[in-house]
């Protein structure tokens, strides 16, 4: 059975090869149908590819620049990592951060310098640099890619070392740091005057930390001598009864998110022990706080009390306030209270000692107590850190204060005395157990922030300094894996509320053109395919008629109907394959001719250069189409041939 079918196949092949004149006629007809479709597909792909090439060769083709715009996620390190893993088809995301630095080299004893070069962040695999044939420095590597202009001015070559100079602070406080980086590449720039360089993002973040005043232990760079900002959980507003906060003041505070509460009857502890006995008769005490300022250390308030006081109409005095801290000093329990007041203010008269509270310019590392000192102590903040304090004693001036108070508000003296009698007795009891030490308000603010992990203590400069936080970037450039995936990534970023800038418009336009051309090719291809089927049908019908005698002989010899059917179908399919091959060869030649630029032949200048791209997919579509076209077209003739009466076929065939 298999042998017989194999023989049918052999017969078909011999028929194709030995009766070549008929075969070539059929092949040329089918190739004539295939070639235009192939060229159409090639032209379409070539045209679209030309448009795409513009984008691919441009560094911004795959690039999407995006930023939070106050709505999207925070662009810090974690955010970038998360986006890289979660967004579809992302190649790399590089924050667009930059820093100005000086660059310097020593060449043959001569110092060459670029005073202000802009350092940009890069990452391994940065497509922007890859486009220029450059590999970005590896993570953690002290490498730099410098622009062509910088390289010329520094006379620097790849492999040489360049000194990067970073400067922070101004005037007398200005300081600088230096680090040597290895030149790993020189990038071409459009203008030689452009002083640009690329360093790894990690390195640039460390440079940025230094410039912002942070300590960079990797390079041994200390913090800048500027303390961390002091922040408070609330403000205490003191008014005299005749000069209370106005409606405007209350509205002003409310507009800024402050919630105002009257704390005259229950002042924050241990304030009642530091004020004169009957202060409640002569003073009104408010506490202004926001919803989160007490609960969240990050949301503590940083307004200068004097600015707030000046904004209110009432003749009030505003104190920044943080809850007092307990401390175990030299075996005793101390209560540390932060009190800072303007140097000259009427409020001082209401304290048990006018000098108890510090003024704003006071050295932060000191304390005052009514029953201690002078002494020098260490305030243990944790097991590792103890802050040195010098304690000065102050005397209680209760009588003076009472007099002052009475002179300020004598009408309420009796009532206030009675009201404070109970609280004084409590303070006395407590004073036997816990000593109150008044420290500057900013010291207590730093200690509170330190406890919350927001600041750190730099022992070298004896200051609480801001703790280095992960850099937050303004914006980042993202590279999709292909330009076709750019719109998808842009959509994903837009869904995450990022503001996005990309070439999506052009890419979408290319896709639209691609789809339109695809439709055109499909319609034309389908039409040509149907036309081809009809042509093959009529050609093979005629050919089968001419082969009646042969078919008759084969039938007489016992060849089955299925065998006749299959051999004709097989022959037609082989013609389709040969036609596909022929059209491929012609198509290739034609595409070469169309794409050939006749630069050296002036008489051929009229010839346009047309990009034709013969893609494997298109070729396989055309080849399959040719074979299918021949196969479908051969079905009716093959069916008819298989039904022929053997003897009639011979007799009729004999006279054709």
């Amino acid at each position: 059975m298999i042998g017989r079918w194999w023989y049918y196949f052999g017969l078909g092949c011999r028929d194709l090869i030995r009766l070549w004149s008929t075969t070539q006629h059929h092949v040329i007809i089918v190739a004539g149908i295939c070639l235009p479709i192939m060229m159409l597909l090639g032209l379409k792909r070539g045209h679209v590819e030309t448009l795409r090439q513009d984008l691919i060769t441009s560094p911004t083709g795959r690039q999407i620049t995006f930023w939070s715009a106050r709505k999207g996620e925070l662009l810090d390190r974690n955010g970038i990592e998360r986006l890289t893993s979660e967004l579809p088809t992302v190649d790399v995301i590089i924050p667009e951060t930059q820093r100005i630095a000086g660059l310097r080299t020593l060449v043959d004893g001569e110092l060459r310098e670029v005073e202000a070069a802009t350092l940009y962040a890069t990452r391994p695999g940065d497509p922007l640099l890859l486009q220029l044939g450059l590999q970005a420095p590896e993570r953690g590597m002290r490498g730099i890619i410098i622009g062509e202009g910088v390289a010329q001015r520094l006379s620097a070559r790849v492999g040489q070392s360049v000194e990067v100079i970073l400067t922070r602070g101004r005037g007398d406080l200005a300081e600088s740091a230096k680090v040597d980086l290895n030149v790993v590449g020189i990038m071409p720039t459009e203008e030689l005057a452009a002083a640009i360089a690329y360093v790894d993002l990690d390195l640039l973040d460390q440079f940025d930390a230094y410039v912002r005043g942070f300590r960079v232990p990797e390079f041994g760079w200390a913090s800048a001598k500027s303390p961390a900002p002091d922040a408070y959980s609330s403000y205490l507003i003191f008014c005299e009864p005749g000069n209370d906060l106005t409606e405007g003041d209350r509205r002003f505070l409310a507009d800024r998110g402050f919630q105002l509460s009257n704390r005259t009857a229950s002042p924050p502890e241990p304030l009642s022990r530091l004020l004169i006995e009957n202060f409640a008769e002569k003073l009104i005490l408010y506490e202004a706080r926001t919803e989160r300022s007490e609960l969240d250390p990050r949301a503590r308030l940083r307004l200068a009390p004097s600015e707030l006081s000046e904004a209110t109409e009432a003749d009030d005095v505003i104190l920044p306030w943080n809850r007092s801290q307990s401390a175990s000093v030299s075996g005793e329990q101390w209560q540390m209270v932060g009190l800072s007041l303007p140097r000259r203010t009427w409020l001082r008269e209401y304290f048990i000692n006018a000098d108890l509270a510090f003024d704003y310019e006071a050295d932060p590392f000191q304390g005052r107590a009514t029953s201690k000192g002078p002494m020098s102590v260490q305030w243990p903040l944790n097991d590792a850190l103890k802050v040195n304090l010098s304690i000065e004693p102050v005397k209680q001036q209760e009588s003076d204060a009472s007099q002052t108070s009475s002179s300020v508000n004598s009408d309420s003296k009796t009532d206030a005395s009675e009201a404070n009698a109970k609280s004084n007795s409590t303070a006395t009891v407590e004073s036997e157990e816990t000593a109150i030490v008044v420290v500057p308000a900013n010291l207590l603010a730093w200690v509170s922030s330190y406890s919350a992990g927001l600041v750190e203590y730099d022992a070298d400069i004896r200051l609480f300094v801001p703790k280095l936080e992960s850099a937050i970037y303004d914006r980042a450039r993202l590279y999709a894996r292909t330009i076709d995936e750019v719109p998808t990534v842009v959509r994903a970023l837009a869904e995450r509320q990022f503001a996005v800038m990309s070439e999506t418009g052009r890419i979408t336009e290319i896709h639209r053109q691609d789809e339109s051309l695809q439709l055109l090719v499909l319609v034309v291809g389908l039409g040509v395919f149907l036309f081809g089927v009809v042509t093959v049908f009529s050609v093979l019908m005629d050919s089968t008629d001419r082969k009646r005698a042969t078919i008759g002989i084969l039938r007489v010899m016992g060849m089955s109907r299925a065998g006749i059917f299959a051999s004709i179908l097989l022959r037609a399919t082989a013609i389709g394959a040969a036609a596909a091959l022929l059209s491929l060869l012609c198509g290739w030649g034609l595409s070469q001719a169309l794409a050939w630029p006749p630069r050296d032949f002036s008489w051929l200048q009229w010839k346009p250069v047309v990009a034709v791209q013969l893609h494997e997919m298109d070729l396989s579509i055309v080849a399959t189409g040719a074979m299918l076209c021949c196969g479908f077209g051969a079905i009716p003739p093959a069916w008819r041939a298989s039904r022929l009466d053997p003897f009639d076929a011979i007799v009729e065939g004999r006279f054709r």
């Binding site: 059975m1 023989y7 028929d15 030995r18 010899m557 016992g558 089955s560 009466d645």
Partner: protein, 327 residues
């Protein structure tokens, strides 16, 4: 189908009425076989009659090329073919046609029937060898056996080599006929190739329609002697049915002469006489000189086994070679 160890007749037909409709004239012509027609084993049968009396039509029915138009009127239509193991099998062709067992018919044609038609009708894309080998290849005979059988037949029919001549009449040297495409053959060569192809697969029944019309008398005699030797020799299990207009050829080579004639005034042709005949041809067993190929003396094939034996190895190359003795 029944097994029959020793059949007297290979084909039996009785009661055929075959109608042929001619679309051009709108008339129907009927071919009738009312008397029992039997073709015995190892016999050669001649179909004689004037043109248009239905000889070819009868041949196509006997050769299973056409189905009978009125199967129900046929009283008997049997064919017996050998099995490879020496037994025979009987095919009730009336039943086969009635049940339209097309594949059965195709298989019988392929394995047990051979045809050589009036003008040869070779396959134009193939060479002489490939044409002769075609029935063997259709029966899946292996390449070696096929090649040996083709060589044997090329020799038998004088087709091995021939002289070729240029346009000016000078000799070009020997021409290997076997490798020639059939469009380069002369009329005589063409017809002999057709005859060789018809017997290549050792058919049980060989039908030939005017097989020697393109041959001169000498070649015609040689060719028919070969056919008779192959089909009707003592070791053969076949028979030969031949249409001819030549009374002389019929009496020389055939054991039975069937005469057909048109019925007067009616569009009917019928078998009018079936008469035995004693052929005058020399005994086939004796070696005979092949005139077209003087170097070869051909004996009747000793082992005329059915087609299966070619592949089954029951016939060794030596046995095949013994069938031919080179002078």
């Amino acid at each position: 189908m029944n097994a029959d160890p020793s059949p007297q007749f290979l084909l039996e037909l009785e009661g055929l009425e075959q109608r042929l409709f001619d679309a051009a004239s709108g008339e129907t012509f009927t071919v009738r076989v009312d008397m029992p027609l039997r073709i015995a084993c190892r016999s050669s049968v001649a179909l004689l009659g004037p043109s248009g009396c239905g000889k070819t039509t009868l041949l196509t029915v006997l050769g299973l090329l056409r189905s009978p138009t009125s199967v129900e009127r046929i009283q008997r239509f049997l064919m017996r073919t050998p099995l490879g193991d020496g037994n025979w099998i009987e095919h009730d062709l009336r039943d086969v046609w009635q049940r339209r067992r097309r594949r059965h018919v195709e298989r019988l044609r392929r394995e047990h029937l051979g045809f050589a038609l009036q003008s040869g009708e070779l396959l134009p894309a193939l060479t002489v060898r490939e044409n002769i080998a075609a029935p063997l290849r259709l029966n899946s005979v292996s390449g070696n056996a096929c090649r040996q059988r083709v060589n044997e037949l090329l020799q038998s029919f004088g087709l091995e080599d021939s002289e070729s001549f240029s346009n000016n009449g000078s000799k070009n040297g020997p021409r290997r006929l076997g490798d020639q495409r059939v469009n380069r053959l002369s009329g005589g060569e063409y017809q002999r190739v057709a005859l060789a192809r018809a017997v290549a697969h050792r058919p049980t029944l060989l039908f030939v329609d005017e097989p020697t019309s393109a041959l001169n008398r000498e070649l015609a005699h040689d060719a028919l002697r070969q056919l008779r030797s192959l089909q009707c020799g003592p070791q053969s299990h076949g028979a030969l049915v031949m249409i001819t207009h030549d009374e002389n050829l019929a009496t020389t080579f055939c054991d039975v002469i069937i005469r057909m004639a048109p019925r007067r005034g009616e569009p009917v042709g019928e078998v009018v006489e079936i008469s035995p005949n004693t052929p005058t041809v020399e005994p086939a067993l004796l070696p005979e000189v092949n005139h077209s190929s003087p170097a070869v003396v051909t004996l009747p094939v000793q082992e005329l086994a059915p087609i299966e034996s070619l592949n089954a190895g029951s016939l060794t190359p030596d046995q095949i070679a013994m069938a031919e003795v080179k002078a």
